[in-house]
Symmetry: C2
Subunit: 426 residues, 2 copies
C-alpha cells in the first residue's frame, strides 16, 4: 500500500499531552500529579448536581424535555442567563448586541468551541498568533489542521505589545499576513502561566490587529479563551475583549462552566460575530447537533437557583487557599535558583529553572520526577513550533487544582528534592 | 475586503436540514412533525435516569469521579459492557479482537464518531460511497469537508451490489478510485428508508471493496452506522460487519445509546481498526478530550443494572405499535398512487409519490403541507450531490418516532389531504 489509510489531518493529529498525563495519573494512584488541570475533587458539587438533576428529571413533560434533543445552539434559558451574566460582569448595563443570546452557541466545554472556531476560520497553511507559552491542547488543534502558530512573548502583564507589533510588521513585509487569521489569548489566569491580561492590553491588541487588516485582505480575529475567568481568588473581574466598543465584530469569546462548576459536565459556550456564528452553528450541527440537553438544563438550573454562584464562591476560596499552600511549599522546598510567577486566580504556578537545566519530556529531570512519583507539565509542551525562536525547555507548569493540600505540599517537596539534584547549590 | 472571513470548510458548512426542521417543530407547537427523528417522549426513561443519577452522584469519591474529567476514550466500564454486549449480539463467543474495549472510543452520540472518522480518513476532494438515499446529516459532513458523495442504488434489501460493482469499476477506469476512501452504510433500519441490510450483503460489499484496494492504493473502509440497530420491532438481530472474519481491519462501526436510551444524553461509540483508532482518539482529544463523564457513567450504570435492557424492550414494543398506527393511517388516508416501504424497526416510513409530483423543499406540496401544519422530510435532502444521476424529488421520510399515536394518525390524515390535491385521483 503506497498511500496511508489516513487523511492529512488524521496523520497530523497527535494525542494531546494532557491525555497522556491524565491517563498516567489516573492509573498510578501513588503518583502525585501537579500536571493535570483537574478541578478540586472535594469541592465538586456532587450534592448540588444530584439535587438539581432530580429537579430537572421530575416526572412529566419537563423531565422528558431534558432527555430529548434540544436545538443546535443550545437551550435558550442557559444562553440568556449566560449572556446577561457576562454582559453585567463586563459592566455593560444596556442591551449591547455583542452579548446577545442569539450570538451564543453552547458547546462541549470551551475546548469544542476552540476547535470549531479554528475549523470555521482557518485553512491549512494559515497562521495563528499565540501567547508564548500558550494552552497546549490548542497547539494540538493547530498542529492537526496544518496551521502555523507564531508565539508572542509573554510577560506578567500579558503579551508583549511591542513583540506583537514587530511580528505583524514582519508578516506584512513577507506577505504572510495574508494567511494570518487570529490572535489567540488565554486572557484570564492563563494556562500555563497564570497571567491575567488587563483589558487595556486586549484593546491595544485589537487596535493593532485592525491596522493590519488591509494588508491581510480579511478580518483578523481576537479569539479570547476565558476558561479560567471565574477562578480569580479575590478582587475585581477584568473586562473581556467583548466590551471593547467598536470591536465586537472582531472578538470571538469562548467560555466554560466545566472549570467553575464540574469538569465532568462539559458545558461551554461561545459568543461569536455574525459570519463566524453561522458557520460554527452549522459545524456544531455536523459535529453532534447540540450539546446534551440534560447537561445544559443542569447548568441552567444551577445558575437560576443561585447554587452555581454559591458553589463558585466556595471554589474560589478553596483555590486561593491551595495556591497559598503551594506558594509556601515552593518557598520551603524549591532551591533558590528556581523562580516562579505567583497567580491571582486559575490553577497554575509557572516555574522557571536556570536556562542550563532542561525540564522537558525527554529530560533527565522529568524522568527522575516521574520515578519519584511526582508529575508536572514540562513547559516546552506549551510553546508553538515557531521557527523564529528556540523553544525554552527550562520551565514547568505546576497545578494546584486537583490535589489535596497534603498532596500539594508532598508533591512540591518531592519535586524540590529532585530539583536540588539538578540545580546547582554548591 | 477581498477574502472572506471564513475558511473553505466554514464557507461550505451548511446548517443541516434537521436543525431547521427540529427548530421549526419546537417553536410551532400546533405543527405535527413527521420529520424530526425525535425519540418517543412518553417512553423516555425519566424515572430511570433520575434514580441512576442519584446512585452515580452518591456522596463521596464515586460521586466526585462522575463530575471530574475521565479519559479521552471514555469510561472503561462502559467500553467493556458495550464491547461484550455487541460481541454477543453478533454471535461471537470467543474473545475476538474486533470487539476489544481497547478499540472503542466513546463519543457525543454516533454523530460525532461519523464526523471524526471522516476527518481521520478523508482529504478534500476525496470520494465516499453512500446509499442512495442516505442519512442527510452525513451528507452535511461530506459537503463541509469538500468531499464527493456517490450514491449506490438502494433496494428493500440494502444497496444494489451490481450498482456498487459498476460504480467501483467506473471509478477504477477513470482513476478516481485513488480518491475513494469509504463506503458508508446505515445498515440497520436505515435513515431514511427503514431498510435493514442482511449480513450477507455487508460481507459481499467488503469483498468487492477489497478487490479494488490495489487500484486505490490504500484501504477502502466500510463505515457501518448502526444508530438504529437496537430499534427492531421483533425477531432476530442481524450480524454487523464487524463479525465478517478477515475483514475487521476494514470495518469502522459506529453505534449509539442516544436513540435506544435518551437522545438528550448524547452517548455514542465507535469500534475502530488500529490506525483509525489512534487518529480518532487524538482528534477526540482535540475536540473535547472526552465525552462528559457524568453521561458516560449514567449509561454504564443503566446497562449494568439491567434497566437499559428493560427500557429497550418497552421502547421496541412502543415503536412497533406506533409503526402499526402509521401503517393503518397511511392505508386509510394516503391516495392509492402513493406507495411506501414498511419498516421492521427504526423510526421511519419511506413514501414514494408518482414521479411527476415533486415533494422537495421548494415544492408546492411541501409548502402546502407546512401551511396545513404537518411536516415531513423531503426525500431529496437524503440524496448526495452525485452528478451521475438526477436527484429523485418525489419521496418523503415519515417519522413515527416523536409523535403520539393520535398525532401520527392526525398528521398522516392532514398530509393525505394535501397529497390528494396533488396526486391525480380522477
Amino acid at each position: 500500500m503506497k498511500h496511508s489509510a489516513l487523511s492529512r489531518l488524521g496523520q497530523r493529529a497527535e494525542a494531546p499531552p494532557i491525555s497522556w498525563l491524565i491517563e498516567l495519573s489516573l492509573t498510578r494512584p501513588q503518583l502525585i500529579s501537579l500536571a493535570a488541570g483537574f478541578t478540586d475533587g472535594e469541592t465538586l458539587p456532587v450534592k448540588d448536581a444530584r439535587e438539581l438533576l432530580c429537579e430537572v428529571l421530575r416526572p412529566g413533560k419537563s423531565g422528558q424535555t431534558a432527555l430529548q434533543y434540544g436545538t443546535t445552539a443550545g437551550d435558550p434559558m442557559l444562553r440568556e442567563l449566560t449572556a446577561r451574566d457576562f454582559r453585567l460582569k463586563d459592566g455593560i448595563l444596556d442591551n449591547d448586541a455583542a452579548y446577545s443570546p442569539d450570538r451564543m452557541i453552547i458547546s462541549n466545554g470551551s475546548q469544542q468551541m476552540l476547535y470549531m472556531v479554528t475549523e470555521a476560520v482557518c485553512n491549512e497553511g494559515d497562521i495563528v498568533l499565540v501567547e508564548d507559552p500558550t494552552y497546549f491542547v490548542f497547539l494540538g488543534i493547530l498542529q492537526s489542521h496544518g496551521l502555523q502558530g507564531r508565539g508572542i512573548r509573554m510577560t506578567q502583564e500579558g503579551i508583549d505589545l511591542e513583540c506583537l507589533e514587530a511580528t505583524l510588521a514582519r508578516l506584512k513585509k513577507s506577505g504572510e499576513i495574508r494567511r494570518l487569521k487570529m490572535l489567540y489569548l488565554v486572557s484570564y489566569y492563563q494556562n500555563p502561566t497564570g497571567v491575567n491580561t488587563p483589558f487595556a492590553k486586549k484593546l491595544a491588541a485589537l487596535k493593532l490587529l485592525r491596522q493590519y487588516e488591509k494588508a491581510a485582505g480579511h478580518p483578523i480575529y481576537l479569539l479570547e479563551d476565558a476558561a479560567y475567568r471565574e477562578l480569580r481568588f479575590a478582587g475585581e473581574d477584568e473586562r473581556s475583549a467583548l466590551s471593547a466598543r467598536g470591536f465586537a465584530s472582531r472578538v470571538i469569546y469562548a467560555g466554560t462552566y466545566s472549570k467553575p462548576f464540574a469538569t465532568g459536565t462539559r458545558v461551554g459556550f461561545g459568543l461569536l460575530p455574525g459570519p463566524i456564528y453561522d458557520a460554527v452553528r452549522s459545524i456544531k450541527g455536523n459535529h453532534d447537533f447540540g450539546t446534551s440537553n440534560l447537561l445544559v438544563q443542569l447548568l441552567a438550573r444551577a445558575i437560576e437557583s443561585g447554587r452555581y454562584e454559591t458553589h463558585l464562591e466556595a471554589l474560589r476560596r478553596r483555590y486561593a487557599k491551595k495556591a497559598r499552600t503551594m506558594l509556601a511549599a515552593l518557598r520551603q522546598y524549591f532551591p533558590k535558583e528556581v523562580s516562579w510567577w505567583e497567580p491571582r486566580g486559575g490553577l497554575y504556578f509557572w516555574a522557571r529553572l536556570p536556562e542550563s537545566v532542561p525540564a522537558g519530556v525527554k529530560s533527565k529531570l522529568f524522568h527522575r520526577a516521574v520515578a519519584q512519583d511526582v508529575l508536572y507539565v514540562p513547559g516546552e509542551l506549551c510553546y508553538a513550533n515557531d521557527p523564529t525562536r528556540p523553544k525554552p525547555a527550562n520551565e514547568m507548569r505546576l497545578s494546584f487544582g486537583g490535589g489535596s493540600e497534603v498532596n500539594i505540599r508532598a508533591g512540591i517537596a518531592r519535586l524540590g528534592g529532585v530539583l536540588k539534584k539538578f540545580v546547582g547549590r554548591p
